[in-house]
Amino acid sequence: MNTLALLSGSLTLLGAIMVITRRVAVHAVLYLVVTLLALATVFALLGAPFAAVLEVIIYAGAIMVLFVFVIMMLNLGQPDREREKEWLRPRIWGGPALLSTILCAELIYSLSTLPQQTDSFSPLSARDVGLSLFGPYVLMVELVSFLLLAGLVTAFHIGRHRMENR
């Protein structure tokens, strides 16, 4: 178990380093997906399956789609077909594919060695998380929304200047 967690942790780190060293945004996004998947594995191995599932659904799923969408919207100019050919060379997707293969092997291995649990207890369900988020921590949810608002306004503010200064 420990080796698996360490392996996933190092995959996360490796992916994160690759994210910040890529020059093309799409390549960075590919590595970011791998990073988030590896992080989800770490969560699952630490006994937080709900956090792992959220990580995959929200971060690796929804937010990545948003990233790709924004990148496609901003990169105007070049014709799409050439650009895609340029972006999707095997050299480019080879690295992320390799990392996710390792992750997949890890997943299959840990599934096959899973101890047979008869009483399927769930330590934390979506219902528990929801109840505590909208119960005692409802003010924190509101504060997080203000945090997102601050980020949104800041990003818009800086982006607007950039567009005007072109």
Partner: protein, 488 residues
Amino acid sequence: MITHDLFLPLPLPILSLGTMLLLGSIAWHRSLTRSLAIGFFTLVLALGGLNYHLGSPQVEGASLFVHDRWGNYTALLILLSSLCILLMSWRDLHHDKTHPMDEYPLLLVLGTLGAITMVFSTNYLPFFLGVEIQALSLMGLVASRPYYFAQATEASMKYLILSGVSSAILLFGIGLAYATTGSLYFSPPPASPDNTIPAIATIMILVGVFFKLSAVPFHMWLPDVMEGSPPPVAAFMAVVSKIAIFSSLVRYFGTEETPVYLHGILFTVIILTILGGNILALRQTNLIRLLAYSSIAHVGYLLIAFFSPGQLRSEAITLYLAAYAASTLGIFAIICAFSWAENSNGSHIPKWKGLFYTRPFLATTLSLMLLSLAGIPPGIGFFAKFEVAATGVERQQTLLLATLVVGSIIGLYYYLYVIRTLMGAQNTPSLPVKEGHSPELTTLIVVLTLIVVVGGIFPARMIPQVLPSPTSPQNGLINDPVHEPENS
């Protein structure tokens, strides 16, 4: 329902509602004057709601927020400083008609919301969220400069990266603290000799806080970011965010003695901060950079008072925060009174030469503020520094007191250098003064000067008992917790 669980001081919902109102107003029609007015009235209303709270306080440890005198006092300072900063930027914002900057008051109110959240929180969650709300809105504010946009974006980027690093360290510390105690209550985890994790957690949280306070090993970002940002935003960074994080630091360790394993670290950081801030300020030719280094040194003096819990600590911290805020805001208001030409940086000190002959009022007030920061009697800063030294004497911190004296002497040199430049013979064309008169800036400068001078003459009036003293907890003092001459 859940409403009986809620407890929060009234300024928080007022600031949140003000933010929503601003958003709606901007979405409907962009108008800078209206946005600024809404921001202004939100801050004034929050000031009025300081003494009230929603819901009823819960048992110790269970609630997210607390409403006490210390929180009230620092929130008062923060709200008043934000009002001053809004007034300072009023004219600069109207100067540029082509880029209406409605986001500015919105982000200012949001940043104040973050600072107030930090001040009132007794739980890691609201504290961290407050830190992040403030950091993110400050990032937008730093980049809100119509000219010098490249420098402003660079400063904003630096701030983003360093604030991200410090938040990561802080969060790691919080995670370790939660792992040992299982509680998110805002106090250092109890350390034991056989378990070093609580000590590591406390040290990491302290390092994160020092990053935000820009104490010396972690100070590099502050002068660069302050130089790149517009002067009112630099004032926000030097005053509001420092008061907020310092208030949280005092709340975190409470009124008792700091843990023993931290003494060495605190000792080193205080000495480095005072000496480093003062020595680095010596060779500065840019007034804003000089103020940034001097604010680093002042954080060092404040940390002496923080490090010496005793009978005098509450008074010393209270007075010092007020003195520092009033003097620094005054200097920034005067900087804002000069025009910022498109191609020249108005904060270059040699350009202020001969100001006593061309603008005697501004030069006199600027000298008063600088003397107050240096700790010379006419200003409130003298009594503040005196009180800080008294706390050190009370706890026999000889080495720290020696550092305080050496730092003050070095500080005197560069503060007096600025005043000497102001008095210099006028042989160069002085700074262009903003055309027309700006009543709000004049009022602001007059009010702040009055606070600095009157506070220097009658300092006892400005000292409310806000922190219970450690040996005899007297919470039942009847005096008004927020009695301040600044209100008049």
